[in-house]
């Protein structure tokens, strides 16, 4: 099977390191991980993984866009999000052996690097440069998923408790969302399906804003007491 080209590997590894923060992060180490996988090109509409199937591979998106879908109660596929490079996905099933929680479909031609489960298992048990990098990249990715989902819930709760949409000044006011919208977004955040850099940065600002608001309110309450 073909391997990722050196130019693509260098570009993707640098973007991954910029995107995820973990101890000892280096693009050279990520390149070693990418070199272990097979590079696959897929046409528009191809399904990279399917909801409900066992997850035997972990993917890095090298080029292109992916639409993430999940079935609702009527069995109809609903779009959770769109993902662009750089992202690692499909890791949840490989780590905990569970079935795929969503379907990923190529939106236009895509190029991915695929690591098989046995390769992931070997790497995450190793003290090699590639092993350390993959293990920590996956932990960083899971931490981001949890932090984003927690931040989103905190914002919803704060909005509810203050009785107003507490939008940071730099973010334009949005229309009030429905529980269906909120739950779809939350599911995307938990699954790591909304990991574009711009969205992450925007969410970080929102989370920081919410935490600052919380701190202010807590301090005010202490003063009142």
């Amino acid at each position: 099977m073909p391997k990722i080209s050196p130019i693509d590997s260098d570009r993707l590894a640098k973007r991954i390191v910029a995107h995820h923060s973990f101890p000892g992060a280096s693009h050279a180490a990520i390149e070693r991980v990418l070199a272990k996988g097979d590079c696959v090109q897929m046409p528009h509409g191809a399904e990279i993984c399917q909801e409900g199937e066992p997850g035997n591979d972990l993917f890095f998106l090298v080029r292109g866009n992916i639409t993430v879908l999940r079935r609702d109660t009527s069995g109809e596929n609903r779009v959770l999000s769109d993902m662009t490079c750089p992202c690692v996905f499909g890791h949840m099933s490989v780590i905990d052996g569970s079935r795929r929680s969503a379907t990923c479909r190529a939106n236009g031609p895509v190029e991915i690097v695929k690591l098989q489960r046995f390769q992931v298992d070997e790497l995450i048990a190793e003290g090699s440069v590639a092993g350390v990098a993959l293990r920590r990249l996956l932990i960083a990715s899971l931490c981001d998923q949890l932090t984003n989902a927690n931040g989103f819930v905190r914002k919803l709760v704060l909005d509810h408790e203050t009785g107003a949409i507490s939008t940071p000044k730099h973010v334009p006011a949005k229309a009030k969302s429905t529980p269906d919208d909120d739950l779809r977004k939350l599911t995307a955040k938990l699954g790591g399906w909304d990991s574009t850099l711009s969205e992450l940065e925007e969410l970080e600002k929102e989370v920081e804003y919410v935490m600052d608001e919380d701190s202010k309110r807590t301090a005010e309450a202490k003063v009142k007491k």
Binding site: P23, A140, V157, D159, L183
Partner: protein
């Protein structure tokens, strides 16, 4: 019992040689906390995680002037790992000692300097499994609520039931 012996008996280190645990303890000497001491404060800048060796810790969130206890940390568990691995650098919750407690401080320096130590690898593998299980469980709960709401089709996010259920799955009251 020595800290090394206590750690060697933990599930997390079941396949790890004692010499690796010894090295871990020399690089990250155990720190003790009295009952009631606040170890991490919510919204503070964060740079270390804790592996609880002995005792019990409580995790609390302050939100809109209310304090909510969202969970407890028992021996062998890790808390505050997002400080080391997430982009956002502030504590999302406060952590307090509920009993006299002893912890190993897991810092960036430790992870960088001892990345090949089997005890550090064991901690990281444990973290991977724990985080994945936590996300999967929360995702299942969220999906359950989503499905129920798809059937009932409420129109407002300010619906009390909706918010309380979200708070519940994320540990609120």
């Amino acid at each position: 019992m020595s800290t090394v012996a206590t750690l060697a008996n933990m599930f997390i280190f079941k396949n790890v040689d004692k010499s690796a645990i010894q090295e871990l303890c020399s690089l990250a000497p155990p720190v003790s906390f009295h009952t009631g001491v606040t170890i991490f404060e919510q919204a503070e800048k964060s740079d270390v995680a804790l592996l609880l060796v002995e005792g019990k810790l409580g995790v609390e969130i302050y939100s809109a002037s209310q304090r909510r206890e969202i969970g407890q940390i028992n021996t062998g568990e890790i808390v505050g790992e997002t400080a080391l691995f997430a982009r956002e650098g502030k504590r999302s919750a406060s952590v307090r000692a509920l009993e006299p407690s002893q912890c190993l401080l897991i810092s960036q320096e430790l992870l960088i300097n001892a990345s090949k130590n089997p005890a550090v690898i064991a901690i990281e593998k444990h973290l991977l499994g724990t985080l994945a299980r936590r996300i999967r469980r929360t995702n299942q709960e969220t999906s359950k609520i989503w499905k129920e709401y798809s059937i009932h089709q409420p129109t407002s996010a300010s619906d009390d039931g909706f918010i309380s259920r979200l708070k519940n799955i994320f540990g609120g009251r």
